[in-house]
Point group: C2
């Protein structure tokens, strides 16, 4: 028995579900904080859980290079290694190889690349990607795919997608099934609806425990992304979770849930938090802005995270000006809480048949909405 | 009524006491974690409290420059600003002016200096030091003194000490007494017993709520430091707490408690933690050392801190190698726990009349005692 998904409620295309795994249950729609190198940067893992996160994401590329998949396995697997007993989804490493590694050579067998850390040479094939994620003890394993660059001609997108489908088949063959563990396929096809639909058909024929939509949030813009979702998601098996990779801002997430997506991951809340950008109701603010220096208001009056309950904007501003670690620690916590609050409200909205009412509250403009002090 | 000190037990010269303040009670001997710029670096304040710390130290020099004492006052004082409701002792800024600031001019009036942050010009006088610490809302205020450089001739040490005594008198005049708040004097006199004793007499005549021994841990070495304590502490009023400023390693603390000191502060546990050095029973280890990469042992089997309960040395090593914030966060927590465990055991030892037995357990060599894996 792999992971199992129960679809509990729908409201339009929006879905309220429950994903059961070997390491615990995940309420969907769900946002997965990113723990790239075996840590959600600046957060104790029990703090991550306190925000309401039930699953986190790990990056195969980073972990295979440092400390190495075999080392993680020796030290008890990623859950024990990083002290996160809950579910972990690992990506396949393909995306990061293309964006971070040096001297990449990609062919039918797989991809050869040089580490961005020490220049050492590595190979990633569908079989090795499965092997690494098994060594990491990933609850949910992702197939190795090629994230088609954007823009791509229809022919380029087709060639790339077809290779990803052949790799998906090899991943399915190599994946070692264990109770409560799952393997997700990844839909490619760039912005071409027919390619996306062919990709869905290929993957559904192979059969996966969940389906990701990949190759988005790579510069195509929100309207194009939503169009791709509308051309793709309705064709996906209804009884499996759907995961939109690498997305996004709160309004991206709302729009994708509206179109039937169940799972998300993005570095935005953590990365923004480290640089002083906070997500608040109605927009974002940059705490480094001088307007906050004398403010005794909390970051967000409606938020129950430690940053908002314990500190003034003036203090948080001071921490960033003084380059104190606690600044990134507190803003990361707040942003993760903000994202989890978003997901909790979306789930409640779907349950109550009032998804659109909740959605409107969160679809703030995606621009910097700096408010005075 | 200022702060009040109750001496509960003694074992030899070692003292077990209780210091009552406007912001809470402090069991002595006590170690104060250093929160230089309004934060104990890398620690949430509730985590600092979880280690057992009952009082922290703030640095007047850093806070007067950024964000400024008036700003801290506007934002509710240092307790509210940094979300630490417990007692806070602030130093007077004199020591940091001499070690960090540029272009210092010291005369009878006070000291003029340039900020190491932005080059702006500032003055610190005994009166301004009292004013700043009142604006910060320090539970315990320290007099402005001149930390006599080491080495100093007896004449230099005398001139410097005498000026500090005149400043101490001005501080006492300027200090605004409030219930549960205290003002501590600082004994100077370098390594010269007679000067130390004259300094004690001067301060006791003025009358303070506590007495610090300053001008030590500046390069004189542990034997000379202990000699100064032996020539100084017995002359201090018995009914007031004694504070050894800027000290030290665990064995320094044990030796000073043996000689009658009640309070300590030092950046060592926090600063070492950030660079990967951990204090463990029997010595220290550097977690960056390759010997730890594959170790599944905890940092210290006897420690109950999150770093020791939740993680292997192999994981902590990985965090430091990958420059992940969680590495400094966890090692700082551990080192602060180690120091608080030391203080708790010393207090228990004094209560039980077995101080020397406890002391021996903690007087490990002060050198790097790296153990294999």
């Amino acid at each position: 028995m792999s992971t199992s998904f129960e679809l509990r409620e729908t409201d339009g295309a929006a879905r309220r579900g429950k994903l059961s795994t070997a390491h615990g249950m995940i309420n969907t729609p769900a946002f997965m904080p990113v723990g790239t190198a075996g840590t959600v940067k600046g957060m104790h893992p029990d703090s991550v859980a306190l925000t309401g996160a039930q699953i986190i994401l790990g990056n195969t590329y980073h972990l295979m290079l440092r400390p190495g998949a075999e080392r993680v396995a020796e030290l008890g697997g990623l859950h024990r290694f990083m002290n996160w007993p809950g579910p972990i989804l690992t990506d396949s490493g393909g995306f990061q190889v293309m964006s971070l590694a040096g001297l990449r050579t990609i062919n039918e067998e797989g991809v050869v690349f040089k580490s961005h850390i020490d220049g050492s040479k590595h190979q990633l094939t569908p079989e090795r990607a499965m092997d690494i994620q098994r060594l990491l003890d990933a609850t949910i394993t992702m197939v190795l795919d090629e994230c088609t660059p954007f823009p791509a001609t229809e022919q380029e997108a087709e060639d790339s997608m077809m290779r990803s489908m052949r790799w998906a088949e090899r991943c399915k063959q190599a994946f070692v099934q264990r109770p409560g563990y799952g393997l997700f396929g990844i839909v490619q096809g760039s912005v071409y609806p027919k390619l996306r639909q062919r990709s869905v058909t290929s993957l559904a024929t192979i059969g996966f425990d969940g389906y990701a939509v990949g190759g988005l949030a790579v510069g195509e813009g929100q309207p194009a992304m939503f169009e791709v979702l509308e051309a793709t998601v309705p064709h996906l098996p209804k009884d499996r979770p759907r995961y939109l990779m690498g997305v996004g801002r709160p309004d991206d997430i709302v729009g994708a849930v509206r179109r039937g997506i169940d799972m998300f991951d993005c570095v935005m809340p953590t990365r923004s938090g480290r640089t002083g950008q906070a997500f608040i109701r109605g927009g974002t603010l940059n705490i480094r802005n001088a307007v906050h220096a004398a403010s005794d208001r909390p970051l967000d009056e409606t938020c129950r995270c430690p940053a908002c309950r314990g500190y003034s904007r003036g203090y948080l501003h001071h921490l960033f000006k003084a380059n104190e670690m606690l600044g990134p620690m507190l803003l990361t916590w707040h942003n993760l809480q903000h994202y989890q609050d978003l997901m909790a409200e979306l789930r409640q909205g779907i349950e109550a048949g009032r998804f659109e009412e909740v959605a409107r509250r969160w679809e703030a403009p995606a621009t910097e909405a700096e408010d005075p002090g």
